[in-house]
Symmetry: C2
Subunit: 242 residues, 2 copies
DNA sequence: CAAGGAAAATGAAGATGGTTCAAAATTCGG
DNA sequence: CCGAATTTTGAACCATCTTCATTTTCCTTG
C-alpha cells in the first residue's frame, strides 16, 4: 500500500511549492501585497487547495519562518561541531547569524512580522509548536558552547546560568537584526555596516564575560582575520564571495 | 481670531481621546481584535471622524507607538541630566528602559508590530517622520553620555564611533524586549527575570568596553543597590513600589 | 474494465472589516 | 438670522480572507 505514502510525499512537495512561490511573491512585491488568491493562482491551484495546507494566511507566514529557521539551525549546528577554542566557536555563532541574514535578506522581515502577537496568535497551534521545536536546537547549540567553555576553564559563570549568558548574545544579535530592518532608524544614526559592528559587540561582550582568550578590542584586523577563517573553515560552501 | 486655535486644540484633544481608547481596547482584547468601527463607537464618534485623524488603521498604530515613545524619551532625558559618574548614567539608561517597559507592558507589542515593514509602510509618511523625530532625542541622550565618558577619561573608544557603541547597547535592550515579548521563546529557555538579566548584560558589556569604574560581575548585590539608587534618585515619581 | 465510492480539488459565494464620500448637521462671520 | 464654509456622519463600497457545496480525480473491487 504505497499509495498513501506517495500521496503524503506529493502533499509535502506541494507545500514546498507554495512556500517557495510565497517567498518569491514577497520578494517581488513585499509582504504587504501577498495575497492568498494570487499565490494560489501563481501555483496553478485553487485557493481551497492552498487552504488545505495552511489554516490561514498567518499560518502560512509562520510556516515560511519555520522553514527558514531550519536553515538557520543548520548553520549553528556546524558551528557547534567546529573543533576549535570555545571562545572562537561562540564568536562564530555571531558570524553564522550574520551570514544567514545576508543570505536570506527577506527572512528577518517575515519572521519579525510572523512573531508579532497579531500574526503568531492567528497561526494554528500546530504551526506554533513546529516553530518552537525547530528553534530549540539553536538554543542547545549555543548552550553547549558555553558549557564547553566552562569545562575547558576558559570561562567562569560567576553565578550566571548558561541560559542567561546565551540570552545576552541572543538579544544582541536579535536586536541588531531588528534595528537593521527597521527603516530609517540606523540610517539616521550613521551606522554603516551594522553586522560588522555586531561582531565587534559580540567580542566586547565575550570580553566582558571574561571568556578567554580575550580579544584585543583595538585590533580590528584580527577580528576580520577570524571572520575570514570562520568563513573558510566552517562555511566554505555558503559564502564563496566576501 | 481665536476660533482657529480652539478648533485645533479640540482636534488635538480628540486625537488623544482616540489614542487613549485604542490603547484601552488593545489592553482589553488584544491588538488582533482592534477594529476601527469599534474604536469609533467607543469614543462616540463616527468612523469618518476617526479617519480624519488617521489615514489608516496602520497609521493609528504608528501614532500610538509614537505617543509612547515620547514618554520613553522623557525617561532618557532625565537620565542624561543626572549628575553622577558617566558609567552609572549609562547603566541607568538600561534601568530606564526596564522601568518604561514594565510601566507600559503593551507598548512593546504594539511597536513591534507597528515597526514591521507591513505596518510601517502602510502608515502615512507624515506619521513615519513624526516617529523618527520623536526617537531622535533618545539617540542623542545616549550619545551624550558616551561623549561625557570619553571626556571624563572613563572610557576609550579605540576606533569605535560613539554611534556604534550606542548601537550595541540599544541592540541589547531591543533584543531583550523582543525575546521577552515573543511568546514561548524565553519560557522554554528557563530565563526567569529577563530584565534583571538585561541589566547584568549591560554591566558586562560596559565592562567589555572598559568603561570605568568597572563593575564586579560577581557582586549582584551591588547591582541591585545601584538599581535602587537610580530608582530613588532619578525615577522617584515613576516607581513607588518595587 | 466498469462501477462505486472515497478523497481531493475547485472557485463562487459568504463573511469580515477597512475605507470612502455624498448628504446632513453644525459653526461662524457678517 | 442668513448662507457659506467646515465638520460630522454612517451607509455603501470594496478588497481579501475563508468556507463549503459541487465537481473531478483516483483507487479499489467485483
Amino acid at each position: 500500500m504505497g499509495t498513501k505514502e506517495r500521496r503524503q510525499r506529493q502533499f509535502a512537495e506541494r507545500e514546498q511549492l507554495f512556500l517557495e512561490h510565497a517567498r518569491e511573491l514577497i520578494r517581488e512585491s513585499g509582504l504587504l501585497n501577498l495575497q492568498m488568491s494570487r499565490l494560489a493562482e501563481k501555483c496553478e491551484y485553487a485557493v481551497g487547495t492552498l487552504y488545505q495546507h495552511f489554516a490561514s494566511k498567518e499560518d502560512l507566514l509562520l510556516a515560511l519562518t519555520t522553514a527558514q529557521a531550519q536553515e538557520h539551525t543548520e548553520l549553528f549546528r556546524r558551528v557547534a561541531e567546529w573543533k576549535t577554542l570555545s571562545r572562537e566557536r561562540m564568536f562564530a555563532i555571531g558570524v553564522a547569524d550574520k551570514i544567514f541574514v545576508q543570505r536570506n535578506p527577506d527572512h528577518f522581515r517575515i519572521s519579525q512580522y510572523a512573531l508579532c502577537e497579531v500574526v503568531w496568535r492567528a497561526a494554528s497551534p500546530d504551526r506554533r509548536e513546529d516553530f518552537l521545536a525547530v528553534c530549540q536546537p539553536i538554543g542547545r547549540c549555543v548552550a553547549s558552547i558555553v558549557e564547553d567553555g566552562v569545562r575547558d576553564g576558559d570561562l567562569e559563570l560567576n553565578g550566571v546560568t548558561v541560559q542567561e549568558l546565551c540570552t545576552g548574545l541572543w538579544a544582541l544579535c536579535n536586536g541588531t537584526h531588528n534595528l537593521v530592518h527597521t527603516e530609517g532608524v540606523l540610517e539616521d544614526f550613521a551606522v554603516r555596516d551594522a553586522y560588522r559592528v555586531m561582531c565587534q559587540h559580540i567580542q566586547v561582550m565575550l570580553n566582558g564575560f571574561g571568556w578567554k582568550p580575550l580579544a584585543d578590542p583595538t585590533d580590528t584586523q584580527a577580528m576580520h582575520r577570524l571572520i575570514q577563517r570562520i568563513k573558510n573553515e566552517v562555511f566554505h560552501d555558503f559564502c564563496c564571495e566576501n
